[in-house]
Subunit: 135 residues, 2 copies
Amino acid sequence: MGVVRRQQGEWRWENSELYAYTSNAATKQVVIGREDGANNFEVRVFTIPPHGFSSLDEHAHDHGVLILHGHSRVMLGERFEEINAGDVVYIPGNERHQFENLSDEPLVFLCIIPPKPVQPKAETAPAAEGVPAQG
Amino acid sequence: MGVVRRQQGEWRWENSELYAYTSNAATKQVVIGREDGANNFEVRVFTIPPHGFSSLDEHAHDHGVLILHGHSRVMLGERFEEINAGDVVYIPGNERHQFENLSDEPLVFLCIIPPKPVQPKAETAPAAEGVPAQG
């Protein structure tokens, strides 16, 4: 059955738990995932605080990204590109990548990944009370 | 190698051909696809003119949708929901669906699909000169 997940407040979606990347104060929400019956792709929203970074990552799976808000410099292998809201990035598997928030606003982006095996969320933990709200 | 596809103008992305659905004046752009090396998902942007409709569809593959602009009523099987920019919809395979643009503005949404076999684009044709620009 179809699922509608409405945006609530500036960068929050209904019925979507907020996860904190404790290393860098970034947060993650899964807006389409296995709990919705989606087995072919997963869609997440990441929020990176002003002048913060996403994790420096290099892994086998690819990413599709749409910048929803803010101004960012993205590392794609040895290349850096400045991007803004509305811009799309495709990051192939095994390419080192990181998003830097260049602005005083939150950086918010949608991130699509192929389905992955169910595994414990080692790198994330549910956001504690004290995690700052975005927006 | 990573691909950056910047938004150009209101609802156009660079290096992305504009396809017209001749039946209803909707347009489609592929913003992440096989030409970018993406074999795990495809990301498209659809624009539906004011008070227009997307195709009435029912097919095996699922959709992930993010409304980028406008106000819509979406059919999900026998259910109808009104949605706005920022809202996310998951449409499972084999669920009948259609987006109606309820407003005087273009309705623009991102649509994710799993990879499909390469096939001729039977239902689409490159937009002719006369296809109205969106936005």
